[in-house]
Symmetry: C2
Subunit: 346 residues, 2 copies
Amino acid sequence: MTLQNDLLLRTARGELTERVPVWMMRQAGRVLPQYRAVREKAGNFITLAKTPELAAEVTIQPVDAFDVDAAIIFSDILVIPEAMGLPYEMVETRGPVFPQTVRSSADLASLRIADAESDLGYVLDAIRLTKKELNNRVPLIGFAGAPFTIFCYMTEGKGSKTFSIAKKLLYTDPNFAHVLLRQITDSTINYLKAQIRAGADLVQLFDSWAGILSPEQYRIFSLPYIRQICDAIAEMENSVPLTVFAKGAYFARHEIGQLACNIVGLDWNMDPAESRALVPNKVLQGNLDPCALYSDFGQIRAEVKQMLDVFGHQHYIANLGHGIYPDIDPDKARCFVDAVKELSGV
Amino acid sequence: MTLQNDLLLRTARGELTERVPVWMMRQAGRVLPQYRAVREKAGNFITLAKTPELAAEVTIQPVDAFDVDAAIIFSDILVIPEAMGLPYEMVETRGPVFPQTVRSSADLASLRIADAESDLGYVLDAIRLTKKELNNRVPLIGFAGAPFTIFCYMTEGKGSKTFSIAKKLLYTDPNFAHVLLRQITDSTINYLKAQIRAGADLVQLFDSWAGILSPEQYRIFSLPYIRQICDAIAEMENSVPLTVFAKGAYFARHEIGQLACNIVGLDWNMDPAESRALVPNKVLQGNLDPCALYSDFGQIRAEVKQMLDVFGHQHYIANLGHGIYPDIDPDKARCFVDAVKELSGV
């Protein structure tokens, strides 16, 4: 049961390590031709995510292709609304769409707190199967969306540049917003605990839309719910390390660094040195501009070297500052991973 | 020729004033029913922008409706690509689209440096007409997009969440990027100088997509060109104050504050007190969350009060942190303006 490569977990726990661990957000996905083949076979995204055998297969693909130091379970943050009673559809080129939305207290009646085993068993099965098939090669990362980001989709009903419908509710009906956020939070705690019991070795919270909030609103409508999740996971028996990645919430780095999490994820706008100063007591993860992987191989190595120079080689997990873009050459992704390994080794 | 209300200009020049001046980005536009009537009459956005009589009419509408301390000429930042030889179309619900794009040095052959009088005469005519019809009630603001933002549209061809095509070019063909940025910069300098000669009392640069760049790339591909524009405007005879509004470029506030501009615009993510510390020597402008105008009247006043408390009442121009959203109740916009006036007066 011992992991052959537990570098990520040792780093996550704050230990000094022989080199910097590396993985890539969205590494299991369209960047790999072998993913696109499985996706084709499944017919659509949601079927792929709901079929544990296929989800496990695409989860492991980047471990083979890129030799990354972790796998991350193939799934979507929007499984939580669905498990709460609000199903979504994935529309090609448009992204996720919710046929129904939740915009008032009356709409809450149709929702429930998600029960992980009964509502999200397919993700837990995928985690168990992936763990088995990974055969202890590398740790498996589980994840969920942060409550405010999930709130955005459940109220807005689709992606948006401004999420002005979601944000409007924070001003016009804050009580409703807090009730829904609490339900999402409780569902997410159930879900992450179940992921950990199913075998996830580390979990990450994605607050993808953190950056649309003012600092003041972030402190009211996002941070308290992330805090509840961090506390619940930290207090559970046989817990695992937790990462908080709040894209765009540069203004909240210091406060995020004071949560009961182990790792703080940074997007590519966030200056590494400044982030170290704001978050002195956590492991940092990030943050190469995903577009840097359009560069040639030599330049990617140079970008990685510079990133390692500013972050340092300890208490640090190398990653991109956002999910890898689907049109990146897989050889460039491999170059990124290899460069981290070569340039950060002792 | 003396302005009846020159509060904005006195504040812009760094003078102490009797109250805080206020206007709203996108105040001339869809938020007003009387705008939508003129837009209907014109048939489409581009015709409206190109007809000086109509552009002047909608420019003045918010001065009447909201009693703001400035008018801003009704136009679009994408008139510059068109004046350089790259026309755009405005597609309902999708936004601007460029049938042709510029993605390599070969594509540059079809472009020219814009000559303001011959290529953008309709904007200059609209400015002259607006000045006449405003009859010195309030100052008139001119504007242009910052070169990097214009570069994004010219290369990507349309709006995008990531502008990954535009950003890819920064990595794969930086020489091409710099040549195009220089052409845009030269065109923009011609354009802003002509706006000032036509009567603009203040000009604002919008770097709407600043936030997609890493701090390092911002220093290479955006800031130097904004600097050239600031210097050129500062050095011209009978110059006017200049505002730089770089949405999302929180990491560059200190450097923007050292440019030859008078005013630094802030989006709603940027903390006012922190911004004052980073930009101690400029007038600040901003930054209420545009969604705050969905609140009720009492809460809007409370939000304005809090904003005035943190910015202080001097060296400050009240505004939203982004353009007003089209579905805001005009009475709420008026409430915002009135609250600034009442709560910041001596």
